[in-house]
Symmetry: C2
Subunit: 203 residues, 2 copies
DNA sequence: AATAATATTGCACTTAGTGCAAATAAACAA
DNA sequence: TTGTTTATTTGCACTAAGTGCAATATTATT
């Protein structure tokens, strides 16, 4: 029993431990990304990352479970926002349109350089490329779960699974097309809209 | 100058070298798969595989470029057949219908036990799961190329990209649904047809 | 049989990742 | 402050995948 310091229960008033942990994790990610961009992914060892972040090699693994995981740092927040947006939509609109609108809105908020840099990095390593694909699969699953929350009729589940698959796929194809264009004029949002339009055309 | 042995040029009359190489590769794959099923993927070392196949550990890498690659052995032949079938279809039918029909036809020819065994294996290891996803991405690309061969109008390329994406996606979702069903009564082909039907419904 | 081309092997090496136990630092109670 | 509990950091030894290289063995060629 003994009093909880000041504020009760919720928001446990981040102590020194939590803060340092958060900062260290952030520092590792920043330092690693910088090294990746200069020396390449495969050319950067965990020893180098640990040294640059001021920790031991062993400690790295208490922050990230693998070298690959560094790249995924921060990306979860993005898809969480997308899901949050989607959960706010009305069940009256068509699921595919809802997802498209939410995606288009989100994609416009990204900075171009960051996206290209991270994407190029991912293309440079086999294991990162593989990791990227599994991430799409995970996102598809999350999206499907969210869709089921909004459109709750059980008889539509099979269709919603297809909507999730098609949406993540359209996003993937759109981003690939956007990345491959020479000169980078058109915004990613346009590629995304075109991809969803193409779906209707041929199907 | 100097006669080509007996038959000219084409089909260079497989010599001892080629035959042994083919046999060794086959033997490694068989032996490895057997070990994977008994000891698990991560529980099977390359040393064990090499020993069981009667080669040195170093030699393994002249047959497969990684441990993961063993699983993919033989799968290429399957997708090659699918592509070959597709290339025979007429440009008059709708691309998506053509792909669906070819897939349904192909999937019926698989033996159930094999599929389940390999699939369970893939689920058991992170790196194999990642590999499976990249394989889907590769198949999507191959399928897109084939579609462009049959339906040659440049203005339809964007749509064909979507058809490829959607088709591989439908197959992926169908196989996942088929695998997860308890009791394994319905054939995979039915799941595949339902998946393609669901596409039309919600889109 | 001699020679050229290719395959196999052993060896040393790098790197990612894990288990464990000792040392260190933060949180908490008196 | 001091002592105690609890979480974190670290070093060390280890496993296993994968690579480079040079020596050896095998197959092909003339």
């Amino acid at each position: 029993m003994t009093g909880i310091p000041s504020r009760a229960g919720i928001a446990p008033a981040e102590g020194l431990r939590e803060r340092k942990r958060r900062e260290t994790r952030q520092r590792i990610a920043e330092v690693a990304l910088r090294l990746f961009l200069t020396d390449g992914y495969d050319g950067t060892t965990l020893d180098a990352i640990a040294a640059a972040a001021g920790i031991s090699r062993r400690t790295f693994f208490s922050y990230f479970k693998s070298k690959d995981d560094i790249i995924l740092f921060g990306l979860d927040a993005d898809s969480a926002m997308l899901i949050a947006d989607l959960l706010k939509t009305s069940p009256d609109v068509a699921p595919l349109d809802a997802v498209r609108d939410v995606m288009v809105k989100r994609i416009a908020s990204y900075t171009t350089e960051q996206m290209i840099a991270v994407d190029n990095l991912m293309m440079s390593s086999e294991s990162l490329l593989a990791r990227k694909q599994t991430r799409y699969a995970e996102q598809e699953q999350l999206l499907f779960n969210a869709l089921c929350e909004v459109w709750r009729q059980p008889e539509r589940r099979a269709a919603l699974r297809m909507v999730a698959m098609v949406s993540i796929g359209a996003m993937r194809v759109a981003l690939a097309g956007w990345r491959e264009q020479t000169g980078q004029r058109k915004p990613a949002a346009k590629f995304l809209r075109d991809a969803f339009d193409s779906l209707r055309t041929e199907l």
